[in-house]
Amino acid sequence: MSVLNKTTAPEGHVERKAEATKSDKAVAGVSHVVLILWSVIVVLPLLWTFMSSFKSSSDIFASPFGLPTVWHFDNYSRAWQTAHIGEYFGNSVLVVGVSLVLVMLLGAMSAYVLARFKFWGNRFLYIMMLAGNTFPIFLAMVPLFKILQNIGILGTYQAMIATYTSFALAFTVFFLHSFFRNLPGEIAEAAAIDGAGEWRTFFQIMLPMARPGLASVAIFNFLGLWNQFLIPVTINASGPKVLSQGLFSYAQQMGYAVDFGALFAAVTVTVLPVLVVYIIFQRQLQGSVSQGTSR
């Protein structure tokens, strides 16, 4: 009996170990299948759109999943010119570009001050920034519209840029705050002794040190603002259209005579910059997310 016990005990142990690896494998297998399915769901429509952007409308209906019979590159020129996608693209680049520069500059400066200086009301301001992150944008739309109307800049680039900048500021400050907080104070002191004033310390020492954080936030902000739809549709109805808004109105205008080839071309033009940014900065985005959570 005792002999039996002795022999079974280690066996049982080994078996349990084998079981654990088996279940590990099962979890890994299932999660991979799920992830692959998800990727397919996301990637296929993108590919389909891209492929269809080279087809004529009749071709799309004749063989929805086939390769184009004739490559209609003219879809793109039609979208770019007659559908004004080119113009909207320019507007988007201008509005998002200027907003991005402004929000990074202002956001980094506010985050730096909030993170590294002690003054009365510091905590309050930071909490306001946090609250800004949680405030639903839908509630802000009507007052925002009124304010811009009263100032008299409704439907201008300035209005869009100001709105985008303030919209992205809360997140930017929140994100960079922890970054600046974690930079060693000794280095700022070394700069002070080396003769650098506050401005020089910020721009030449602290800002370069926060570069990884700045890059991640800039990418996040770019993606968020480029894809922004609600804000332009609400406050920019009368102004120079940005891409997402222009695309929407283009699809609407066509009514029942849809030029699907050109529409898909327009969609591709809209999505492409986002895709490119994602692909180039993949690592940065992943890294920043994990950094943000671990700190």
Partner: protein
């Protein structure tokens, strides 16, 4: 260069009642290497940071040369500082790190490069000038931090535990390098450390601080031979001095079975009927059984030439630990009983109540 004067300098952190540095008075000579030493929280770093201008002075003054710098911002004090973690600018090359202060000061590029190269040569950093700090070893980073200070040719060097991040061997090496370098440059240096060996080996003079109060400032030799109070006596020296509270007896103090003779005038200074007798481990001699103090050896550390006996003794019902240096060739065994007595003329007497030194 310049002298440095702390004139009743006091630092009170907001929200505390007890000053971190309390009425500090130190006069540092031109070209002197002064070490501030003490246990953590004694105010040594705060004192240094006050001199750097990184910490406010709540009352009193700080002078560099004849100039009152109490309210002068750090950049206008003409000082350079080496930080514990070096505080190198991670995105700049070694050369840019070293030349940053000169660049801000508007020194022309060529002169700047020449000065950087000169300092790099002095510190053996020439081949690393284009590297970023993260591509350097700890010792090299430390030298870059030194270089950044040297390049500026300041009136005063401030060093805040610059060796504490180096491994033991490198620390000893760098210790001598820093000491000889600052002497060669002839720049007044204030150096903060918690390591009394560093303090003793590097300083022209050493200031011992405790709880924000200056305990004693003197040459390393004097500090060792004539500690001003019980704290300094126990802090300086390794292994630490034995401090025993002993009753006065006729013509001296009772040291176990013997009476250690002390002049009547000295004993008269003491408050109360006991005095604290301090004797360094190397000043205890072993004697025949029954004479002096009986010590049970708990641990024996054999260092080759010498051996240290860590033991305990009971005096008036209280147990004391005793460290004695004995002949390394004939050390006692653990558990043995030895008898020790201080060598004549090598004891320090302190007032038990105030902790101050009695006699001289």
């Amino acid at each position: 260069m310049a002298t440095v004067t702390y004139d009743n300098a006091t630092r009170l952190y907001p929200g505390t009642n007890k000053p971190a540095v309390d009425k500090l008075n130190i006069q540092i000579e031109d070209g002197e290497f002064l070490v501030l030493v003490g246990p953590s929280g004694c105010g040594k770093s705060t004192s240094l940071r006050m001199l750097a201008g990184l910490e406010d002075v709540n009352s009193g003054r700080i002078l560099i040369g004849d100039r009152d710098v109490t309210d002068v911002p750090p950049k206008d004090r003409d000082i350079a500082m080496v930080f514990q973690n070096y505080a190198l600018y991670p995105h700049m090359s070694v050369a840019d790190n070293m030349g940053f202060a000169l660049k801000i000061a508007g020194v022309p590029k060529e002169e700047r490069l020449a000065r950087v190269r000169e300092a790099a040569k002095l510190l053996d950093l020439e081949q690393y000038l284009d590297r970023k700090p993260k591509a350097l070893s700890g010792g090299q980073r430390q030298r870059v931090a030194m270089g950044r200070a040297i390049v500026r040719n300041p009136q005063v060097f401030l060093m805040d535990e610059p060796l504490s991040n180096l491994d033991a061997k490198l620390r000893v090496q760098t210790r001598t390098q820093i000491a000889s370098l600052t002497r060669r440059l002839g720049v007044t240096t204030v150096y903060v450390t918690h390591d009394q060996t560093e303090a003793m080996t590097m300083g022209d003079r050493v200031a011992v601080l405790k709880d924000g109060l200056l305990q004693q400032i003197d040459t390393p030799r004097k500090l060792y031979d004539r500690p001003a109070n019980v704290f300094v006596a126990g802090f300086i020296g390794s292994p630490a001095m034995n401090l025993l509270e002993l009753p006065e007896a006729d013509g001296g103090v009772k040291f176990g079975g013997t009476i250690y003779p002390v002049a009547r005038e000295v004993l008269a200074e003491a408050h109360g009927s006991t005095v604290t007798l301090g004797v360094r481990p190397e000043d205890l001699e072993t004697v025949a059984a029954g004479e002096g103090l009986q010590v049970e050896a708990d641990v024996v550390e054999e260092l080759g030439a010498d051996a240290y006996v860590y033991g305990h003794t009971t005096l008036d019902g209280k147990e004391h630990t005793i460290v004695a240096r004995v002949d390394g060739r004939r050390p006692p065994m653990k558990g043995d009983t030895i008898w020790v007595r201080p060598q004549q003329g090598h004891v320090h007497l302190f007032d038990t109540k105030t902790g101050e030194r009695l006699g001289d």
